[in-house]
């Protein structure tokens, strides 16, 4: 008799749990919208390749920073070959699923367009930018991580 009661309790518990889970599912499905990408922050270069050749240990990347602010302005600390060199304003081609980062320098210099990916590595969001600041035949990939303040 005791065994029967326990079984009934377990069944009841599972039923309630099942209800709860199915409820959760519905809720998740209802609000499944890709959040807008927030790329604001101060970013440092953790890897640099030229035509797939790794230059990270060969050139000094330590001082270079790309600062993207909440008000959509950007600036640099130190300089590296990049599509633009002056500070200005930035935007994403699609705030939910960005493919490109557009950099518009203040002062009328030409706009720079950077192919953008946002992989997550070891729990950290990275910005992986592909650009050709010199000859079109030379492709660079800058991989950035946020600087921890």
């Amino acid at each position: 008799m005791k065994t029967y009661r326990i079984s009934l309790l377990v069944c009841l518990a599972l039923f309630v749990l099942g209800l709860g889970l199915s409820g959760c599912n519905k809720e998740i499905a209802g609000v499944s919208v890709e959040p807008l990408k927030n790329i604001a922050g101060t970013w440092k270069v953790v890897q640099l390749t030229r035509n797939e050749e790794d230059l990270s240990e060969r050139v000094d990347l330590s001082a270079f920073r790309l600062v993207l602010k909440e008000d959509n302005t950007y600036s640099f600390a130190d300089k590296l070959p990049f599509v633009v060199s002056d500070p200005g304003t930035f935007s994403l081609d699609d705030p939910q699923y960005p493919f490109y980062l557009l950099l518009k320098p203040a002062g009328g210099m030409p706009e720079g367009k950077v192919s953008l990916q946002m992989p997550v590595k070891k729990g950290k969001t990275q910005l992986s930018m592909t650009l050709r600041p010199g000859c079109e035949t030379n492709t660079y990939r800058y991989t950035f991580e946020r600087v921890q303040d």
Partner: protein
């Protein structure tokens, strides 16, 4: 019983021998190439590839049918894809013009685009400086072979050489399309690299792809807003820097407006890193290193390798002339 065993052994031995002969003779005959040693810049060069077939196919039902693939490797500056015709010349199978394989199409064995697959398999051959591209063409008709249909054929490649003076060795391969560029296959893929091939009476400094150079710049084509790698190979000749590992770069940039900017300081950012074997390298961003003003662009630059004191210098061909590099794109 013993005799029977011996007979079986003998039969197996001959079967094996026949198999080996079959395999050894299967496919294409060795490739020989006719390449001129000198051609004037901007003129059309003709390369003749001589090859043949040796079909020894165990199962000829269905018969062996395949297209012909021809690849060749030339300096990128030729822009050969726009300036080349490739023709099959065969009295047995008829003449036909091959077409460039579209860049989106992948070679099945490597999963790479055909030019990349060819580069993976053959590299840049005996050249030392990598600024080449492989171009891969395929016949439009497919050709059917019966066993022992041994024929000879030629492929004629006509390609306009670029405007640049160069010294290189060109690469060629012929392949049965059915087989793809399998890495281990030497029966259906035949390749050869030419002897020295010169383009003369063209523009600019001679680009020597073949001989070891005291200095070389990578990428071969770049602008002042690229990262460029300057390599110094001190092992090929005795120089005033042979007895030191402390080697620095001295450079002078020439802007489009005629301004000159020089750097002669011996600091970390001008120090070459040893790579072993008396080879050294420095990776620079020319605009950054020479602090080029924003409204200026570098046309070219000249450079020396020096010791820490700056009193021992090595320049072009180990003379007092500087090495020279012009910033330009393909």
């Amino acid at each position: 019983m013993k005799k029977l065993l011996k007979n079986i052994k003998l039969v197996l031995f001959f079967a094996g021998l026949v198999l080996v002969v079959f395999l050894a003779n299967c496919g294409l005959t060795p490739l020989t190439i006719e390449v001129p040693s000198v051609v004037n810049a901007n003129e059309v060069a003709t390369f003749i590839l001589n090859c043949g077939t040796e079909p020894r196919i165990a199962n000829t039902d269905p018969p062996y049918t395949s297209k012909l693939i021809v690849g060749f490797m030339v300096p990128k500056s030729w822009k050969a894809a726009q300036n080349t015709t490739v023709e099959l010349i065969s009295s047995e199978k008829g003449n036909s013009t091959l077409v460039l394989i579209p860049s989106a199409e992948k070679e099945a064995a490597s999963g790479l685009a055909w030019p990349d697959a060819a580069k993976k398999r053959f590299g840049i051959g005996p050249n030392l400086l990598d600024d080449f591209e492989w171009l891969v063409y395929r016949s439009v008709p497919a050709y059917t072979f019966i066993n022992n249909e041994d024929i000879k054929f030629k492929v004629k490649i006509s390609s306009k050489v670029g405007s640049e003076n160069s010294f290189s060795r060109l690469g060629f391969f012929i392949l049965s399309a059915k087989e793809n560029l399998r890495p281990e296959d030497t029966d259906y893929t035949k390749y050869a690299f030419s002897n020295n091939f010169s383009v003369t009476n063209g523009e600019g400094d001679l680009v020597d792809y073949v001989n070891p150079q005291l200095a070389k710049v990578e990428p071969v084509k770049s602008l002042d807003n690229d990262f460029i790698s300057l390599n110094f190979d001190a092992g090929i000749i005795e120089t005033t820097l042979s007895n030191t590992d402390e080697i620095f770069l001295e450079a002078r940039g020439f802007t489009k407006s005629g301004q000159q900017i020089a750097i002669t300081t011996k600091v970390d950012k001008t120090r070459l890193k040893p790579l072993g074997g008396k080879k050294y390298r420095i990776d620079i961003w020319p605009r950054g290193l020479l602090n080029v003003p924003q409204n200026e662009t570098l046309d070219r630059f000249e450079y020396y390798f020096t010791n820490a004191a700056g009193n021992a210098k090595v320049g072009y061909g180990n003379t007092a002339d500087p090495f020279r590099y012009t910033f330009k794109c393909p």
